[in-house]
């Protein structure tokens, strides 16, 4: 207990204000930098090139820096600032060592946060969410957490357990459990692979929030409310019920990040049940906090209490939201959408940040040498509130929109296109958030030095409502607390065993029974490509897990089996889809398309918001450096193993688990449902009534113009990088059937992908649009002798590939990477035909013939092959 104030007593006798001051400043500096990273990456969602080529390419790295900066830089420092004030006040004892505190400050900011940022920005990172800093930094984080335990825990243990106030419990719990959870979440995913790696990541994502952020935020709320209102909290009993409930249940939630995945369903169901119960516990916690705030009004007078009130409300909403979105019916719809991004911003930037600010303000007001400007801080409150609300509401609506579009089967680009206004609003919401933090910064450095102390006194003079229970120390309470503490530790250990280790064993067994006997690992180039994919944060936008849902199966193909990721360490399953899932990306696009896409994504996909990576090329998409080749090689491995194992692999897997609904679902689905994958010989449906001409033109501009050009002349931005070059549609006359076939099947061996994801009406409209580019030409009809010569030349030289009837079905055709032209369905302009005969077509087997045929022969055969059009001579 703190000794009674005397004339000689000073605040610094107990609390080291310099450490509170230093960590508060570090918190505000790091949050502003983390927000700058966030703004740069959010801008690229609707203006992908706005940041310039270098910064655009750093999107993934900035994303790493953003999340780690918020968690470790901002919240870590804010919590430490609060702890240096709160622990001495809670215990009546100083922290272990001021010198250790100074070392810890340096360690946290100049060995962890700053170098961590520099490393991830320079490409040294690990692709594990909320654990992106590389292993070398993790080691120092663990050292820092150990130091924090040494610094803050001893003062608590000098008093009895039954004496501990709820904030103390949360602080102890957080320090102990974060120290246990951090190595598990940051080191283990790199030691195991695939689904098992994901299971540990799921645990960590939730433990980072549930065992580090939430307990410390709640310790602040339980501290600041009574300290500011001058009244004890409503019920210490309820607060402890909430505390134990949270520590029992939070660790069990982790797998709800991977619902509908290959992780054993029993683990998923357990996490879902725990999530629902956690929602109930949070309602108890929030009720107690709101009752503790009673009498403060809907808008408390003290700004710190305003932050507390909003933090409590945000906590309620985010927790109920979390419990709901873990439920399978909701998870199936909103998972991978911006709903989840809104949820995480509400947790970290709403609930935790508002609590962190309340803690800083409370501690700051009690620093003897610190200034405090209440007007600026009040403005900061309003700006931050507006910013967070706009951001979360906006992202939630965007998430629902994306979910609806994905469910409806609309082409992927529609979700990107229609999300853009929402992404713009999200960026705009950063303006009040940034201004709020800047004003908070300003408010802590201007104004009166004694304002805080005056404010403290005015609130503390309110009536103390309650009396001491002077009864003897109850051994029962002690025993129950000890039992609960032991149970929490046991439950935490069990959570790792049940949601991490046990699923791993089950998955190992499944892998051993379903994996093909021989399994190609990654070559050196492919492995390097994987490292590039990881360091650039590709997994933030492209998942590599097809879930066991009808929607995923329809759009992407067979759900991911455990053995597919058995060498992926750490896994790159991802938790958000801006772009499509890439589990089966290998072989879906031509190499030149992939390189053009990496070099300049919008050249081939106009609505893409993917960053380009021109640094991996020597100035042009067809001059890739080794990095681009490696990345391409890695992309080509995605789904390769399962395709190579097909069909025996599928049959064996199905036979090994005849009664397993999920395995059966996977092996019975079409292996690769990528709608863009070229597929010859399929049945082409009737597209029906076409959409309007305007729609056709809009689709052309959105989907086709990158390669074929706005006027269909094969001169789009990407055209010069593709082999064979995109067809100049003005130089050919196509039958509608041929255009429909190309749109439905794509053209194997070329960059022309299929467009099966479009509706029939859209496809029919595109058929009309593509056909409209043909420019009719006036050709002098050939004489019979010329046609006879052409037939002779054709028979001698062309029939092997193009076939006797010009259908592109000669006996050699099947051996060619690109099928020869079918002249019955496409008629080249005479000039185009002569050009092809003279120059050949690069990227195909069509060689130049001008060294073997005379000009007369080439003209004759050009006339002759045109005569095939329409099905006969």
């Amino acid at each position: 207990m703190i000794s009674a104030p005397s004339a000689s007593s000073r605040p610094d006798d107990l609390v080291d204000s310099r450490l509170v001051f230093a960590h508060s400043i570090a918190a505000l500096v790091t949050v502003l930098l983390a927000i700058v990273f966030g703004i740069i990456i959010s801008l690229q969602f609707f203006a992908p090139d706005i940041a310039g080529p270098w910064l655009s390419s750093a999107w993934g790295r900035l994303r790493y820096a953003h999340t780690q900066g918020i968690m470790l830089g901002w919240l870590g420092n804010a919590f430490l600032a609060f702890l240096y004030h709160a622990v001495p006040v809670l215990t009546g004892r100083k922290v272990t060592s001021v010198l250790l505190g100074r070392w810890m400050f340096g360690l946290w900011n100049f060995v962890v946060v700053l170098p961590g940022w520099l490393l991830v920005l320079s490409g040294v990172s690990q692709p594990v969410e909320w654990a992106e800093f590389p292993l070398v930094i993790d080691v120092f984080v663990i050292v820092a957490l150990l130091c924090a335990a040494i610094q803050f825990l001893p003062p608590f243990f000098k008093n009895g357990l039954e004496e501990l106030y709820v904030s103390s419990w949360y602080i102890i719990g957080s320090l102990v459990f974060t120290l246990l959870a951090y190595p598990m979440g940051n080191l283990v995913p790199g030691l195991v692979s695939g689904a098992e790696s994901a299971a540990f990541t799921g645990l960590w994502i939730h433990d980072a929030v549930g065992l580090f952020v939430t307990p410390l935020a709640l310790s602040i709320l339980y501290f600041v409310i009574p300290a500011t209102t001058g009244r004890p909290i409503f019920s210490h009993f309820l607060s402890m019920l909430g505390f134990w409930g949270l520590f029992f249940l939070y660790p069990l939630n982790g797998t709800h990040h991977y619902v509908f995945s290959v992780i054993p369903m029993a683990a998923q169901m357990g996490a879902i049940i725990a999530s629902a119960l956690l929602g109930v516990i949070v309602v108890i916690v929030v009720t107690n906090l709101l009752l503790s705030l009673r009498g403060s009004g809907y808008l408390p007078r003290q700004t710190s209490l305003r932050f507390v009130l909003l933090s409590v409300l945000f906590y309620l909403v985010v927790s109920v939201q979390g419990a709901l979105q873990a439920q399978m019916s909701i998870n199936q719809v909103v998972h991978f959408t911006d709903w989840v991004i809104g949820h995480s911003h509400l947790a970290m930037l709403g609930f935790a940040t508002f609590a962190g600010i309340a803690g800083i303000i409370h501690a700051w007001q009690r620093i003897p040498f610190a200034r405090y400007n209440p007007v600026a801080v009040d403005w900061a409150f309003w700006l931050l509130t507006i910013g967070i609300l706009v951001m979360v509401i906006d992202l939630t609506i965007a998430g629902l929109l994306q979910a609806g579009l994905w469910q409806s089967g609309e082409p992927w680009f529609e979700s990107v296109r229609q999300s853009q206004p929402y992404w713009m609003v999200r960026t705009l919401s950063a303006i009040p958030v940034t201004a709020g933090f800047m004003l908070l910064f300003y408010g802590l450095f201007t104004g009166s030095k004694n304002y805080g102390a005056e404010d403290v006194t005015s609130s503390a003079t309110e009536t103390l409502n309650g009396a001491h229970s002077e009864g003897p120390t109850s051994s029962l309470i002690k025993m129950s607390y000890r039992a609960a503490l032991s149970a929490a530790l046991i439950f935490f250990t069990l959570s790792i065993l049940l949601l991490g280790v046990w699923p791993g064993r089950v998955l190992d067994q499944q892998i051993s029974q379903t994996a093909p006997e021989s399994f190609f690992g990654l070559s050196a180039s492919e492995q390097r490509g994987r490292e590039i994919y990881a360091r650039e944060g590709c997994a933030y936008c492209h998942t590599q897990q097809i879930r066991y849902t009808a929607e995923d199966i329809r759009r992407f193909g067979a759900p991911t089996l455990a053995w597919e990721g058995q060498f992926d360490s750490p896994h790159m399953w991802g938790t958000r889809r801006i772009g499509p899932d890439l589990s089966r990306a290998g072989g879906t696009r031509s190499a030149d398309w992939q390189l053009a896409h990496l070099f300049d994504p919008r050249s081939v996909v106009p609505w893409s918001i993917m960053p380009g990576y021109p640094a991996y090329f020597d100035g042009s998409a067809n001059q890739p450096k080794q990095e681009a080749r490696d990345l391409l090689a890695y992309i080509e491995t995605l789904g390769r193993a399962r395709e190579l194992a097909w069909p025996d692999g599928e049959q064996n897997a199905g036979a090994s688990y005849p009664d397993d609904r999920w395995v059966q679902m996977s092996v019975n689905a079409a292996l690769n449902a990528h709608p863009g994958r070229a597929r010859a010989g399929s049945e082409i449906p009737d597209f029906g009534v076409p959409a309007s001409n305007d729609r056709g033109l809009q689709l052309w501009q959105s989907l086709c113009a990158g390669c074929h050009g706005m006027d269909g002349q094969g001169d789009g931005p990407a055209a010069s990088w593709l082999e064979p070059a995109p067809t100049d549609l003005s130089r050919y006359e196509f039958t509608e059937g041929r255009i429909a076939q190309v749109l439905w099947e794509g053209v194997e061996g070329t960059a022309m992908s299929a467009w099966r994801q479009l509706s029939g009406a859209d496809l029919a409209a595109l058929v009309i649009t593509a056909g409209s580019f043909h420019a009719p030409e006036s050709v002098i009809e050939p004489e019979d002798e010329q046609l006879a010569l052409g037939e002779s030349v054709y028979t001698d030289n062309c029939v092997q590939c193009h076939g006797e009837q010009g259908r592109g079905a000669g006996f050699a055709a099947l051996d060619l990477s690109v099928m020869p032209s079918d002249f019955t369905r496409q008629k080249p302009a005479l000039g185009e035909s002569l050009r092809v005969l003279t120059q050949g077509i690069e990227g195909t087997s069509m060689a130049p013939w001008n060294d073997r045929l005379t000009d007369e022969e080439m003209l004759a055969v050009s006339h002759y092959l045109r005569s095939f059009f329409g099905g006969g001579q």
Binding site: H236, M240, I273, P368
Partner: protein, 68 residues
């Protein structure tokens, strides 16, 4: 599944805790005591802050008076 056992165990522990709290006043009082102790600590500390700030202000005022 053992996770369900854990969830049930949590509920049972919470139930026992609630039961004790309802049945025994001494337990109830003891559980609630830390919030009052905390309130005292906070008020004492804030008292130190306030008195320190007041004495600093009067010290500064005295110095200013002496200077004038």
């Amino acid at each position: 599944m053992i996770i369900n056992v854990i969830v049930l165990a949590s509920l049972v522990l919470a139930g026992v805790y609630l039961f004790l709290w309802l049945l025994r006043k001494d337990v109830r009082d003891k559980i609630e005591e830390p919030k009052y102790r905390f309130q005292e600590n906070v008020e004492r500390y804030d008292g130190i802050v306030h008195s320190s700030a007041t004495s600093d202000a009067s010290h500064v005022a005295g110095k200013e008076q002496g200077n004038s």
